[in-house]
């Protein structure tokens, strides 16, 4: 029935419809181009021997070289930063997801005492917070300065993620748990055998969510981390690209060969090295992300 109606409608497309549709496509193409080109420009810039824009707008690199990547990847600061970011992302994501799941489960149970009160306690923090100075002083007085803890603990559980997981858990039919209880399963078995498997999609979603957050995080590292050996990649990249730090001149100077070196190329390669994991993972994680948003916001 539906298809029949659609077909008759499409036949009757007026001139106005066609103009609208044409303009709409043109707008979408322009918008997508504006989103892809900056990244493409950086990719091109990172492999082109000469400054990309010297010859105007271009879609191919101006002379080809892997030299910048060689310099960036052999830079000790960048290597340290990469390892630190990897560690904080793995550990931070693990602890964050475990604590979020543990907390979401009781809050999803209708029979849990004072459930609304505990939930309100969490939700309130989404709208009112102590702000940067009290948080900084807290981290300092807990002795977390310059440790991995300062990068993991202050944002361990996101209230938003917690609510999304809780909402998802609430959609698990209670009959499922009750029948398991009839069969003599205890709370632990129910959580591991029934709840967690059913919640796999949402767990995947927030895992990726938190992982991307950790990979991209830099502010906490700027404020809490003082020794260069503990620094994360985003901040090292920030120093090289935005502030043009010593690391940049180091990389410029370390040329044994007589190749042409442009600072723009080095910066672009640094940006690429930092962004590549996100860009590679992006097509795969994107679907989960969207699902998570929908589950959390609409079913809530």
């Amino acid at each position: 029935m539906n298809t029949v109606v659609h077909r008759t409608v499409r036949k009757k497309q007026t001139l106005g419809d066609r103009i609208f549709s044409g303009l709409n496509y043109a707008f979408m193409i322009l918008l997508c181009a504006s989103m892809v080109y900056p990244f493409l420009f950086i990719i091109l810039s990172s492999v082109s021997t000469y400054d990309m824009s010297a010859g105007g707008f271009s879609l191919v690199p101006r002379g080809f070289t892997w030299d910048y990547y060689g310099r960036v990847l052999t830079n000790p600061d960048i290597f340290t930063g990469y390892v630190n970011t990897l560690i904080r992302t793995l550990l931070g994501t693990f602890f964050s997801v475990v604590v979020t799941l543990c907390m979401a489960y009781p809050l999803s149970k209708r029979t849990f005492p004072n459930r609304t009160g505990w939930t309100a306690l969490v939700v309130f923090t989404m709208f009112f917070s102590g702000g940067i100075i009290p948080t900084y002083l807290l981290v300092k007085s807990l002795g977390l300065m310059d440790t991995l803890g300062s990068l993991i603990l202050p944002e361990l559980v996101s209230a938003f993620n917690l609510i999304i997981v809780r909402n998802y858990m609430q959609t698990v039919p209670e009959s499922l748990e009750e029948s398991a209880k009839m069969d003599g399963a205890n709370d632990v078995t129910i959580l591991f055998r029934i709840i967690l498997p059913v919640c796999a999609p949402i767990i995947a979603t927030i895992t990726l969510w938190v992982a991307v957050w950790h990979w991209n995080a830099w502010y906490d590292a700027m404020v809490y981390i003082s020794s260069p050996g503990n620094q994360v990649i985003q901040l090292i990249m920030r120093r090289i690209v935005i502030q043009g730090s010593d690391a940049l001149t180091q990389m410029m100077d370390s040329s044994m060969s007589q190749n042409h070196i442009s600072p723009e190329g080095l910066k672009a390669a640094t940006i690429m090295v930092t962004t590549l994991p996100i860009l590679c993972a992006y097509p795969f994680v994107q679907k989960y992300f969207v699902k998570g948003i929908l589950v959390g916001s609409l079913k809530g």
Partner: protein
């Protein structure tokens, strides 16, 4: 809630019956109390002359004198004005943008084209402002950026997008919309997908054209989602985007680009004026919270959809 609870069982017994669940709750609870509620308690230093050795409790009370100091500092009001200007522009342009984007995307018939556009439009959301800061610094550079190359090609003069006070705020608004338009549209696209297609078919039979269908079917269906997003957005009116501004600004544009969060960061963490910066933060938080409550109250009055 109340209907499930049986009033005869004492509360402690109920917790005992749910002890396994309560144990699960504890780690998260400790986190929220320590890392979210202790800083709220730490806001007390806005009313004290704080020094690290005396701590929050030990530092001497000063009443409202820190606030008096804040409100009589001219730079505070400059920053306050900048925040309002930037946030309201980002609100006025950035709030409807994803809605319009979702509506336009919804008009695209080809499923594959639609999915491709969606995938591309979410991309900037995943990239941090540090990277985007570096990227835009190169991309908008007057000497080596492609945007200025294009402007020169068309006979224009190169523009110092990030160093010209006249251009800085438009760049902030544009890059913010650019980063969030795709991601922000997800929730509206979902709401659009849940509209019964028969409504449209019936309207088409009756000869309703595109605009009429939009006004009488689509927008009413989106109203609840839009209301909730609107309330949340008003709560963020005083929240400037620290990540964005901190990575794009420079002393040349402090006059228009320095906002509450960057100001707090410089005053508090760079100049170590803890009480001053905390007072600025508390003022900002109270203002945000009041606006949010007001918007929620108003929305409930007007169309019954509120946050709580």
């Amino acid at each position: 809630m109340a209907t499930i609870k049986s009033p005869t069982v004492p509360l402690l017994t109920k917790y005992w019956n749910n002890r396994f669940l309560f144990v699960l709750l504890i780690p998260g609870l400790i986190f929220f109390l320590v890392f979210k509620y202790l800083p709220i308690y730490g806001l007390l230093i806005a009313f004290k002359d704080y020094n690290f050795f005396d701590g929050i409790l030990g530092s001497p009370w000063t009443g409202l004198s820190v606030f008096q100091e804040v409100f009589s500092t001219p730079s505070f009001w400059e920053v306050f004005r900048n925040t309002i200007v930037i946030s309201s522009l980002q609100f006025v342009i950035g709030f409807p943008a994803p809605i319009i984007f979702a509506l336009l995307l919804n008009e695209i018939v080809s499923k594959r084209a639609k999915r491709t556009i969606q995938t591309i439009s979410y991309l900037p959301h995943f990239v941090s402002w540090v990277i985007l800061g570096g990227l835009f610094l190169q991309f908008l550079s007057p000497s080596s950026g492609p945007v200025n190359a294009l402007i020169e090609l068309m006979g224009g003069r190169p523009v110092y997008f990030l160093a010209d006070p006249n251009w800085f705020v438009p760049v902030l608004v544009a890059t913010d919309v650019w980063k969030s338009i795709g991601w922000g549209s997800i929730i509206y696209l979902a709401a659009l997908a849940s509209i019964d297609p028969e409504l449209y078919e019936a309207a088409e039979m009756d000869g309703a054209h595109r605009w009429q269908r939009l006004v009488s079917i689509t927008l009413p269906a989106l109203a609840p989602v839009i209301t909730i997003m609107l309330i949340l957005a008003t709560g963020k009116l005083m929240d400037d985007n620290f990540d964005q501004i901190f990575n794009l600004y420079n002393p040349a544009v402090y006059g228009v680009g320095d906002v509450m969060s960057t100001y707090m960061y410089r005053k508090g963490l760079a100049e170590m004026q803890y009480s001053f910066a905390t007072a600025v933060g508390l003022f900002k938080n109270l203002l945000s919270f009041t606006i949010l409550l007001g918007a929620n109250w108003l929305a409930k009055k007007i169309n019954d959809h509120g946050l709580w």
